[in-house]
Subunit: 398 residues, 2 copies
């Protein structure tokens, strides 16, 4: 008659897991917050303690006036696992290592890509992971899982990178399998903008808000969307494909990404502006020197980004927007111009807040590492409690 909702059985445990990943709370507080019975909470917490990633902080008993026994706060054990996050940019790979509670311990960058082909990209990903693992081993940190944020399209369930644009021969790569074969630990891949949004939410300017849009703009253009503290994926798993929003140009349609990818804009700047232009900063440098053409170019770009951002804000009803990726290099003049347009045409008025990512490209590996911790722990929970087949695990996790 109807299909059982996916993962409902696991929902209670997952909800408590996410609560503990962000807060120190007692069993009774968990029960209060989630509406779950004390028995259910007690059982789930016991599983977490048995699995070795949660502990009672008896020394930190909370004082509750009038109550008899003081509630014992529960906390994730930071050293119970470590995770590596890698962000695959168009020009290099950057990585970080966090503990189970999310504390950033190490970071690492690869050399700059020359060829952008599969061999080189994978070599640099493993370069970053190898270096992080080596440092982790020296300090006896148990790295249990790796998360990667990569330009889409990709298939997170099959672990395949499909065909991200603006690489060279980097397509149909079974990246998860490759890395699992090399390192023997769980690997997760996700869209770069999605991971950046998670990173911004957990570590950056989104820490105190529950809904945000993160627009990642470098060679490609994509958006990660956080709704009620969770990554919004859409039905097809490809929400936020805003690089494929259409612009009208002399009666023809062009994808936003094809009009405003960083490489396209730099080429345009080279032909329109005097001086040596090889990167986005060069354009802002020209503006600072009083170059009117450079200023016009930035305003022209900002205008269409204003249109794109308002399209997202008005569709999603989310007023907090972060701009990340290489476009941050365009600085104040770019974002101020966008703010003007948003102020003029946005129907939510002063509620709309446009800002640059507080983390820059590091948002991607930080988000990917956090994501890996959550996925790894969820997998542990499913395996311990429900002894499910690996295939079924994936249908629950995604």
């Amino acid at each position: 008659m109807f299909s059982v909702r996916k993962a409902t059985k696991y929902r209670n445990a997952f909800e408590i897991l996410e609560l503990l990943l962000n807060h120190s709370v007692s069993r009774s507080e968990i029960s209060e917050i989630t509406g779950l019975t004390r028995t259910t909470v007690g059982n789930v917490v016991k599983t977490f303690i048995d699995l070795g990633f949660v502990e009672e902080k008896r020394g930190k008993r909370k004082n509750v006036p009038g109550a008899g026994r003081k509630p014992i706060p529960l906390e994730i054990i930071p050293s119970s696992l470590y995770a590596i996050g890698v962000g695959v940019l168009r020009h290099q790979a950057i990585g970080c290592l966090i503990d189970a509670k999310g504390k950033l311990l190490l970071y690492e960058m690869s050399p700059v890509f020359e060829k952008k082909n599969a061999e080189e990209v994978i070599k640099n990903i493993t370069h970053v992971i190898d270096n992080l693992l080596e440092k982790a081993n020296k300090e006896s940190l148990k790295v249990k899982t790796i998360g990667l944020g990569i330009p889409g399209p990709l298939d997170p369930i099959k672990g395949m990178v499909l065909k991200p644009p603006k690489f060279s021969n980097f397509e149909n790569i079974p990246l998860v399998q490759l890395l699992y074969d090399k390192y023997g630990i769980d690997v997760w891949i996700e869209n770069d903008a999605d991971m950046a949004a998670l990173g911004e939410k957990r570590y950056g300017g989104g820490r105190t808000i529950n809904n945000l849009i993160y627009i990642h703009i470098s060679e490609g253009v994509g958006a990660g969307i956080i709704v009620d503290n969770h990554l919004y994926r859409g039905k097809i798993g490809y929400a936020g494909e805003v690089g494929h929003i259409l612009l009208e140009r002399n009666g023809n349609f062009v994808y936003f990404e094809d009009a405003y990818g960083m490489d396209v804009v730099i080429e345009k700047a080279k032909s329109e502006i005097n001086g040596n232009i090889s990167k986005l900063q060069d354009i802002t440098e020209r503006v600072k020197k009083g170059d009117k053409k450079a200023e016009e170019l930035i305003k022209e770009i900002a205008k269409d980004f204003g249109l794109l951002i308002l399209s997202l804000v008005h569709t999603l009803g989310i007023p907090d927007v972060f701009i990340g990726g290489k476009y941050q290099l365009l600085g104040d003049i770019f974002i101020e111009e966008i703010r003007e347009i948003v102020k003029k045409y946005g129907i939510f008025g002063t509620k709309i807040k446009i800002q640059y990512s507080h983390l820059g490209d590091m948002a991607i590996p930080l988000g990917a590492a956090s994501h890996a911790v959550v996925m790894y722990l969820k997998k542990l929970i499913i395996m311990k409690e429900y002894k499910t087949s690996p295939k079924r695990i994936f249908s629950i996790l995604y």
Copy 2:
């Protein structure tokens, strides 16, 4: 440290309510589907039975092989309450009456608006409600609640219609209070496109899908978005404000609604096409008679609607799109042209499905009536179980 998530306490009851509104299930099936304990389910079901809107269908005990006692299906009692839904269009009000299980029993249309001012619009709304109530009374149907779908912007919590465009002096109307004073039962107002999306989901082409976009296009342009079977509201409560997506016209920005509201298009057609044009059908009639200019106009409109629809599909990752409102009158040529564009530029390929609403304008009152049933029952549940103040009830419901 963190705020208690809104309505978590009520979540279990609300989840079971929504399950029962759509399915006949036993207590053990509810437990299986929701992951809630049998005790919790038993308590909630007892509350529902005590409140008089759920019953055990003992005659319908399900055969479970090998089991001892057969599980008893639970069902919403159709006659436990009746709800009126009203859709306020730009030219008239249309209404319907449903029972608690959602069965459509009556419908009603007001005269056509002449002045479109507050007095006339409210008079016609009450005309529709009065007629439905009169018929309901004749058959002793207890109407307990009224839902209305109205062009935004509006404030559902304060019950205020703010300033919907393309009316005349229809603004800042405390519509909920006005109708409550007149009828003495709970009244709910919501955005028209949102209610249409709910209507399409429950009664129309969306019955078997969990995610859909409903674009309502008449004088105004708006979208209702269903994510995982629920209305997506966004953080600011104004998701789907797609009439305010910007188009570029000769270097200037124009709101989509201002370029393609029905009234604008008819004016444009009058000046560009021969023959008597006073409504959208007249344009398609001209096309059928071989008028190339009329055909060009429809294709031009369809092109920008294709752009709008792809913007929504790519942002939300939802491939099922329904087009409702007066634009349905543009018929096959309009939607076929949109499908061409979507096929050409859509990155989800053949997954994207564009179709006309199966319900037309009736989607709005049907959605509004369904919404009223849910809100009314949720309010009952909160009041019985938690004896909360009316103000707090609203903070839980929205």
